[in-house]
Amino acid sequence: MAPDAAAALGRIRAGAPQHARPYERYLLTPTAWAALAEALAVDRGLALLSLWAEPAMVHAAFLAEEEGEILLASCPAQGGHYPALSPARPGAVRFERMIRDLWGLVAEGAEDSRPWLDHGHWGVTGPLSNNPAPNALPPPQPEFLAVEGEGVHQIAVGPVHAAVIEPGHFRFHVQGETVARLEVRLGYAHKGTIGLMLGKSPRAAARYMARLSGDSTVAHSWAFAMAAEAALGVVPPPRALALRALMAELERIHNHLNDWGFACNDSAFAFPHARCGALREAVLRASAAAFGHRLMMDRVVPGGVAQDLAPGGAEAILAALEVAAAEIPVLLQIYENHASLADRVVGTGSLAAALVARFAAGGFIGRATGRGFDARRLPGYAPYADLEVAVPVLPQGDVDARIRIRIAELQESIRLVRGLLKTLPDGELAVPLPQRAGEGVGMVEGFRGECLHWLALDDGGLIRGAFPRDPSWLQWPLLEAAIENNIVADFPLCNKSFNCSYSGVDL
């Protein structure tokens, strides 16, 4: 263990425990938090996973990478201020901008204090603070970081894109054909989701988390349910857990197939796109036959699952996966054997392992760059402990590596689904939720990476505070790094190889 990490860990553990489950949250004083920020600046061992707020209080979630321990820390925002973590952890930058926009709390010494989600259209500022202030000012012009140099010009793309994708703005600074800097401006899909959840029961709020990012509806619903169950000290029945894993793996399969195909398409190689599309469609239809919804939305609920596997569902899933399992090796061979494709994907959009580690980026983006974190293994959660999930890791960090990780995961998920269907336990689908206070954390490995949810319930069991952290928070900034010094024409391909969520981070 690095001595500095021990120092930072020790500073958190010296705080007052607040009884969050299963990971403790420690309340620090603003002075202790400032000391923590300093300790983090010299320490590499403690990764920042999330940063969020409640009125007058800021919370952070950390992962001690070597120890595999997750812990939370909080700092009261006296007079609406708290010491920034962004000088020590670059991943904190967007969280701090978001906290200022939603709760009106200011990070002192922050790396970047420009607005993030608040584009000036809401009619209020600090909508989640105790006293949102009316805002009648005209929306300000967005400011972008400047790039100096001869012949530098800008290309502005979005928020409405040429393809059928979510809204966001990309500002390229370009020198000739080469991208000198990309800056992503998001927030266009902001729906005020956290505000809608406050004061509702976990059961009633689950529908918002099923719609945080539609492609990850199962993973986010599960992480949210896990947080609620941890807060209330209930354990869902074994059958519910197995069905959740079944749905989560189907979700991983359909998304990996989709993006593999699209990445080939963006390399002007349409055949794998067509085939992946057909295989994915079969998986979605099987999911609909098994769970009554193609994306399996609203099927995972706090306490368990909303419905059982339909009769014939298992057969439909197995049939769809058999076709996919037979064809994936063939498609992989095609992917590998075409020089025109290899030319586009190998060495394109490369990331440095050190940068990925600094951002603690998870999912296939981390695993394609040597960071092997997978929440199914660590911290691990039921029912995965018995399934021995294989986690592929590659060092290259380019578009090709990200695609290959996803192909390997695809095959592993097919194996997991088959195993889950074989050993599906009998029994109840859900347990009732008591109405009482509690605080919980849930972490579930979605197809993009770990979905990390925090939830606090008041005495009546209603939501006092919540924060769903999509994995894309720590991945979007890396897209900006990956495209640097690549040509503009490779951006769609790089972007697809990341496929970050807009809605998931726009909240």
Binding site: A162, G187, K191, T217, S503
Partner: protein, 185 residues
């Protein structure tokens, strides 16, 4: 190898689904709307520009699935275009987010007349679950005249196709039965 596979597929059964039934009432309602507006008919095909005003991306997944080989949208003369300037139809998803209203209005202004607006998904119909948020104005009709709504969360590709075919029939010039209706004769 790719080529033997392609050859095999040439002699195989097509993957494409048959067209879904198109509801006559919807076509009729659209025709009336068209006539009331004295709108010019567009002909046999429609170019579609998709605009997401704050969806959860579930609707985008299903709209993209329309282009896969199983649904093969283009066989009906429906296709997605990259710019609103080339579009006949704006297919709008998501609740009307306050952060997207200005962009949506600009897209509308850039789209040449005559044009249709289709609100896709429960969110686009009336804000869906996001109704009442400080960041959401409601459905797409708060900003634009909506011609057709396709509810669902998200609507399935089949439901999307039904709606789009109804639009195609309503605005087509009087002519022979479209190919997807020939079996009904």
């Amino acid at each position: 190898m790719l080529w033997p596979r392609l050859a095999k597929n040439l002699f195989g059964r097509p993957l494409t689904d048959p067209a879904p039934p198109v509801p006559d009432q919807v076509v009729q309602a659209l025709v009336e709307r068209l006539e009331a507006a004295a709108q010019q008919r567009l002909g046999h095909s429609l170019s579609i520009r998709e605009v997401d005003t704050g969806s959860c991306n579930g609707c985008e997944l299903e709209i993209n699935a329309l282009s896969n080989v199983v649904h093969d949208l283009e066989r009906f003369g429906l296709r997605f275009v990259a710019s609103p300037r080339h579009a006949d139809v704006l297919l709008v998803t998501g609740p009307l987010g306050r952060n997207m209203r200005a962009a949506l209005e600009r897209v509308w202004e850039c789209t040449p007349d005559p044009k249709w607006v289709v609100a896709v998904g429960d969110c686009a119909v009336d804000g869906g679950v996001f109704k009442g948020s400080y960041a959401v104005e409601g459905g797409i009709a708060e900003a634009l005249p909506v011609d057709l709504v396709i509810p669902g969360c998200p609507p399935t590709p089949t439901q999307l196709l039904e709606g789009l075919l109804a639009l195609l029939e309503a605005q087509a010039l009087p002519r022979a039965t479209p190919f997807w209706r020939r079996d009904e004769d």
